[in-house]
Every structure is written in C-alpha cells, then in structure tokens.
C-alpha cells in the first residue's frame, strides 16, 4: 500500500508538472505555390497570438508546391496538420482517397472554408506592346500566353475555367464555341509549367511570352518585386472568383495531438489581423471591414463562381481535367 501511495503521489506530481509547463508545438501547413509570403507573415503573427493566449510556443513549417501534387503527398503520408490549397477539389481528394478528414470538411469554417479569395488576371510587359486588354486578345495569332499546366496546377485550372467562362458569357452559353475559344487560347501557350510560381519564373526571369495568366496576388507580388522590371497589370472585363480553401487534417492532428492549435490556426485566418495579412499579401479578404480598408488595392471586375457556370469542382474536374476531358481533347488537336 505504501508503494501504491508513493506511485500515486509521483503520478499526480508529474501530471501537475506537465499541465503547468508550456509546450513547444510544431505544425505543418501544406499549401500551394504562391502562398509562401502570405504564410510567412501569418505564421509569425499566429505564433505570437497563440503564445499570448495559451503560453504554448508554436512553430509552423510550410510546404509549397502545385496544389494537386501537394494533395497527393498528403494522401501518400505527408503529415500535414492543416492544408491550405488552391482548390476545394484537392481537399476533397484528401477526404475521399486519403480518408483523413470528413467529406463535409468545407462546412466546418465560414465562407466554404475559404478565408480569402483571389481571381485570375493578366500581367503584361511594360507598355503592353501587344495591346492586351481582355480574354479575346489572348487568342490572337502571335500572342505568347504563360499559364501553368491545368493537369498539375490549381491556378492553371482557375485560369482555364476563367477563359472558358468568359467565352460562355460572350457566346450565350454555347459550350462548343467556348471549347473552340479555349483551344485557341492553349494554342498560344509555348511552354507549360507545373505550378503558378514556375509560370511566373518563365514569364519574368526567363523573359518568355507576352502575358502571364495567373493569380491576382502573384501578379501584384511580381509588380512589387520587379518594380523596375517593366510589367503592368491588365484586369480583364470578367474573371472567376477563386476560393482557395483551408482545412484541418483530422487524422493527423488526432495522432499528433495538435487538433486545438490547428483549429486555432485556421480560425485566426478569419480574424481581423489574419484578414489584414491576407490583404497585405494581395489576397482579397472576406471581412467587409478589412475589404473596405483595402478597397483601393483590388481592382473591380465582374466575377463569376465555379458553382454558377460549372456546377462545382467535382463536375468541372470530371468534364475538363480528368483523363480524356476537354483539356486533353484540346491538347490532342
């Protein structure tokens, strides 16, 4: 009995000591290509916030790459506590193929789990020598378009659908005309990169093509970093509302004991500070207050959603990006 009493006392002391001690926590955020700068700033702010709130020290590691490839890595075992990807379809794949989070993951956070949005715009060389103003200018002969490959890049899928949506609107919903338009669009693509950041490299560092078609935030970032480089933004008349989603990877956080901090991390993206960081990094904030504060930063244009024109990501993927889909058909021509 004496021994049992000693053991109980020791365990009680251990428990008390462990609960009183601040923890060092590591999180892995698996994200897509152009969010490096956003999450570098956000991670620092969140670590500060979390330490003030709980006393725990959080270090967030980042992993970036093409959205589809990143999803595949998580399915294959990359231990992501949270994913912040370019497409809801990629998170769906993690839920369906990896069974790492529930199918209704998108309902767990506000605004379809997309704390910020973006769209697809054009970046052209200084003076806009080819006179590019809208989507219709891109399909003219002799124009070199630099998007990424829709087979591997989330940004490229958004760009593809933006072009398709524009053509649908111009042709009263005629799918055949839209397909013809998009075929012409991709005929003008001299080289495909696997991700959005690679496409930017092709356009800016390698000096290839007349127009970069990609993320709005990536275009702004390029303008900021290449202030003397001679580029200018062209905002088309219409584009797509891109909603990059975020999600906690349930099975991983359960195994690693990081559920609370992972949820706190994503919740903080919706806070005023999180929204301001997103806006500062050229992502359109969801918060009306923060959006108003940064209103002059983001050009106004007509935006359509994927649900409106394509029936959601599952349907769009099956129709356009699956093997044998319209993108493959266009490429074979």
């Amino acid at each position: 009995m004496k021994f049992r009493h000693l053991l109980q006392s020791a365990l009680t002391l251990l428990l008390a000591a462990s609960t009183a001690t601040a923890k060092d926590i590591k999180l892995l955020n698996v994200s897509y290509d152009p969010t490096r700068e956003l999450y570098q700033e956000f991670n620092t702010a969140f670590a500060k916030h979390w330490q003030a709130k709980t006393g725990d020290k959080v270090t967030v590691q980042q992993s970036h790459g093409g959205s589809g490839k990143q999803a595949r890595s998580v399915i294959d075992g990359l231990e992501a506590d949270v994913v912040t990807l370019a497409l809801a379809y990629d998170v769906d794949a993690i839920a369906q193929k990896g069974r790492l989070l529930p199918a209704d993951w998108q309902k767990r956070l506000p605004q379809n789990s997309a704390p910020y949005t973006s769209t697809i715009v054009f970046l052209v060389r200084k003076g806009n020598p080819k006179g590019i103003k809208d989507w219709s200018d891109l399909v003219k002969p002799g124009i070199g378009i630099i998007p990424a490959n829709p087979k591997t890049s989330g940004a490229a899928r958004w760009a593809y659908l933006a072009a398709w949506g524009y053509a649908l609107k111009q042709n009263n919903g005629d799918e055949a005309r839209a397909k013809e338009f998009v075929a012409k669009f991709y005929k003008n693509v001299p080289v495909f990169d696997t991700g959005a950041r690679g496409a930017t490299t092709t356009f800016i560092q390698r000096g290839i093509g007349d127009v970069l078609v990609g993320w709005e935030n990536e275009a702004f970032l390029a303008l900021k970093e290449q202030a003397k480089g001679g580029y200018q933004l062209v905002v088309p008349s219409v584009s797509i509302l891109a909603e990059p989603p975020v999600a906690v990877v349930d099975k991983v956080v359960k195994r690693r004991g990081t559920a609370a901090v992972a949820k706190g991390y994503l919740d903080y993206l919706y806070s005023d500070e999180g929204q301001e960081i997103a806006a500062r990094n050229y992502y359109r904030p969801r918060s009306a207050t923060v959006a108003a504060k940064f209103a002059d930063k983001f050009p106004k244009l007509q935006l359509f959603t994927i649900d409106e024109l394509f029936g959601g990501w599952q349907k769009a993927t099956k129709t356009h990006f699956a093997d044998g889909g319209t993108f493959d058909q266009i490429q074979r021509k």
Binding site: T194, G198, R206, G207
Partner: protein, 458 residues
C-alpha cells in the same frame, strides 16, 4: 547553344545599320522585319531552354517520387520514395558435410553431405513503423533421407511495432530471448553447430514480446509471454496445456560509448524463463548432432520449468570471446515416478581474425574480398571452444538408460572460417566429445567429428 548563334549571327550582320543614330536613319521596312525575326528567334531559344529546364526538373521530381530498387550483398530491396515502405528478399543456404572418423567399426551410418539450412527470407517495413519478417526453412529433416522427408517449416513470422527505440512490441513466431548463441543468426555462427547451452535454451516460439534499447543502447531488454517449448525446441501452437511461459532478458553494454577500445566491446547479461509444461521431452545432441541423451519412452515434462542463463561476450579488435551458462530445471514424469531434474550446460568460445577484421557478435565484412589471382584474401578466422552439458544424475535409471544415454558430455573443438566476402563463407571444424555414464560403445569411445560447410547468403 546553337540557337544562340542563330540569333547572334544575323544580329552581327545588321549591327552597322542598327548602330546608326535614330535621327540619321529610322529602321526601314527590312530592318524592322529583321528585328522582329531576331525577337522571334530569341523567344524560340528561350522557350527551348526553359523546356529543357522543366524537363530536368521533372526528371528530378520523378527520381524523388520513384520507387528505388537495389541489389547487393544484403539481398534484393525495393523502397518507396519516402522510404516508409521497404521489402527485402534475402536468404541463405548451408551445404554441410559431416564425417565421424573412428566409428566405422561400430556400424554407425552417420557420414553424410546434407543441406543443413535452406532459408528464404522476406522482410521489410510498412508505414515506417512496422517491421515484418518471414523466414522459411526447407533444410529441416533432410538429413533423414530424400527431399520427400523434407518438411518446410516456418522459422520466423512476426511483426514488430517500432513505437520508440525504448519500447517496441513484437508479435508472432521468433526466438525466445534466452540463449546468447541462439540469438545469433544461423548464418553467423563461430562454429558450424551451436554449443551445448543452446540445447537447454528455448528456440523459436509463438508469443508477444516487448523490447527496447535504453540509454543509447547501453542496456537492452526483452520480456514476453510465449506458449512455452521444451529445451532446444520450437513450436507453432500449444495444444498440451493452457499454461504459458514468461521469458525475459537484460543485456548491457556499459562501455558502449567509452573512448577506450578495450572496453567498448564488452557485453553481459542474464536471461530466463518460467512456466509450466506438460509436453514431450527432447533429446540432447553433441556438436556433431548425434544423440547422447534421451528420456525413456513415456517420460514427459510435468510441471514447472525454469531456466536461467548468465551470458556475455567481449570483442577487442580481431579477438572475440563468448560465454554462456544455462540451468534448466523441470519436473518430469513417467509411469514410475515424478521428479524435478536440473540440467546445466556451459561453453566458452573464442575467435581471432588472422586478417585483422574487427570481431563482432554481428556479421563481419572482410577488409578485402577474395579474388582469384588478386590481392584480396577475404577474412580468415580461427576458432576454439570448450563446453559441457551435465544431465541431472537423478535422471538415471528412472527416466533415462545408461545403455543409450550419458549423464555428461564434454567437448572441445577448433575450427576455421574463411569469409570470402560478405556472401560466401567456408567453414571447417573438428570437435572431440567425451561422455560420462554411458555404456554403449559410442558413449565409451566418445565422438570425433569433422564438420564442414559452404554457406551462401544474400
């Protein structure tokens, strides 16, 4: 690079024109076309180079995500790109020759070539954490005649959850953690056959074991619960009783991280088992694998069985020595009586590499592989040992007959191992065994055994 010349040469050709001040001469129609052509060629060149760059990146990514296949001294291995999944195909074959000079006039038929062990091994890892191993043996009982008598056996079939280095769980059929020499691989023995202590220690059994290495492997432990097997025996199921054996072992390398070469190779420990058995008893054999003790018909174990084994080894440069002692105490019963019998066995075995390789409990690699006509000789190892198995005198005459059994066997032997490389090993041993207490010609004269082996492992 050729594309650059395509751009540069036309550019040089028109250079005098282009260097004229704009006011003096605005680009004419032809010049404009030429400039446009240069731009186009430059774009093509850039596109070509970027495509090549992307191809290189794609190839590098493909390498990162590709499954790797390797083949070498440790067999054939396939690894997933993240190394979380590994499967290895390995194995070894031992072809022995046993000759017993001096017993021709006794009528014994025991000189033979035989396939001692034929063991394919499949082992690997899944999800980084779980190791598995399956080892079959097609060399069992071949000594008794043709391949028709061969009974392929499952030697190892287990999975190990490597939760932490300090705490792992192993489930399946594997060696009980008792005999020191028994825990050494059959492909890595000093002598062709194991010494007497192994006769009293359990072999492979089915059960569950926790194990781990503590303090940077200065102390290792294993503890498990098993069906329980007779001395030297293996089992796949326990149909004789519902009792189970508990087996445990502690082994220390206290100077593992020492700066002193003379101390680093010291390891010692103790192991043991306890349990109740109601199974058939086993016979004891000499290093030449000839039977020198067997219980009389109708004798079986009947109650508590305990084993204790202090053990240790020491390696220093090319020198190594290994020693162990086993006490096996169990109740036996036949129609005449029930009695507790306590048998003991010990051995001391030593070896020295003439070619100065570092000696080890684990497999060694020759400094230079043997090459025909070349400078390499492989590794040459000389061995010597002495050992004894002492059967409890109370076994006679109730449980054993002096006509067929001795109460004590003492042997000494010398040998040589020639490791041509990591995969091929030739061995030659001479063992002399003398007996006490037996009355047969074999037991009176003792045994001279010449054993040889050609071993191929991969």
């Amino acid at each position: 690079m050729n594309w650059k010349w395509l751009v540069v040469l036309p550019a040089l050709a028109v250079a005098p024109t282009l260097t004229q001040p704009a006011s003096a001469q605005a680009p004419g129609g032809d010049t404009q076309k030429l400039l446009q052509r240069i731009d186009e060629l430059e774009q093509k060149m850039k596109i070509f180079e970027r495509k090549r760059e992307l191809d290189v990146e794609a190839a590098r990514d493909a390498t990162k995500t590709a499954t790797s296949i390797s083949e070498g001294t440790s067999g054939f291995a396939v690894r997933s790109a993240d190394t979380n999944f590994v499967i290895k195909v390995r194995g070894y074959v031992q072809t022995d020759a046993r000759f017993f000079p001096g017993d021709r006039n006794t009528g014994a038929v025991n000189d033979t070539f035989l396939l001692r062990r034929v063991r394919p091994i499949i082992e690997g890892t899944v999800y980084d954490t779980f190791d598995y191993r399956l080892m079959l043996d097609f060399g069992q009982n071949l000594a008794s005649g043709s391949s028709a008598a061969n009974q392929g056996q499952i030697q190892d079939a287990y999975v190990t959850a490597k939760l932490y280095p300090e705490f792992q769980i192993q489930v399946g059929k594997f060696k009980e953690p008792v005999g020191l020499e028994r825990l050494q691989s059959g492909a890595n023995l000093l002598f062709i056959e194991r010494g007497f202590p192994t006769q009293l220690a359990p072999n492979r059994d089915v059960g569950i074991q926790v194990q781990g290495d503590l303090w940077n492997s200065r102390l290792s432990y294993q503890a498990g619960i098993f069906n329980g097997v007779a001395d030297g025996g293996s089992g796949d199921a326990d149909t004789a009783d519902t009792d189970k054996d508990i087996a445990a072992r502690l082994f220390a390398h206290p100077f593992k991280d020492s700066d002193s070469d003379a101390l680093r190779g010291l390891g010692f420990g103790v192991s043991g088992t306890v349990g109740n058995h109601n199974t058939a008893t086993r016979t004891y054999t000499t290093p030449g694998q000839q039977r020198f003790f067997s219980y009389t018909a109708g004798t079986a174990s009947a109650g508590q069985h305990q084993r204790v084994s202090p053990q240790g080894y020491y390696y220093y440069g090319p020198f190594g020595v290994l020693g162990e002692y086993v006490i096996s105490s169990q109740k036996v019963r036949n129609a005449a009586a029930t009695r507790r019998l306590t048998h003991t066995a010990w051995q001391l075995a030593t070896s020295y590499f003439l070619t100065l390789e570092d000696n080890s409990f684990k497999p060694i690699a020759p400094r230079a592989n043997f090459t025909l006509g070349g400078p390499g000789w492989g590794a040459v190892e000389l061995t010597a040992r002495v050992g004894q198995l002492d059967v409890d005198n109370d076994a006679f005459p109730t449980f054993a007959s002096t006509a067929t059994s001795a109460s004590e066997a003492t042997s000494w032997g010398v040998g040589a191992n020639w490791h041509l490389n990591r995969n091929v090993k030739l061995s030659l041993d001479y063992e002399r065994t003398v007996f006490e207490g037996g009355t047969s010609a074999y037991l009176i004269n003792g045994e001279h055994a010449i054993l040889s082996r050609v071993q191929f492992s991969f």
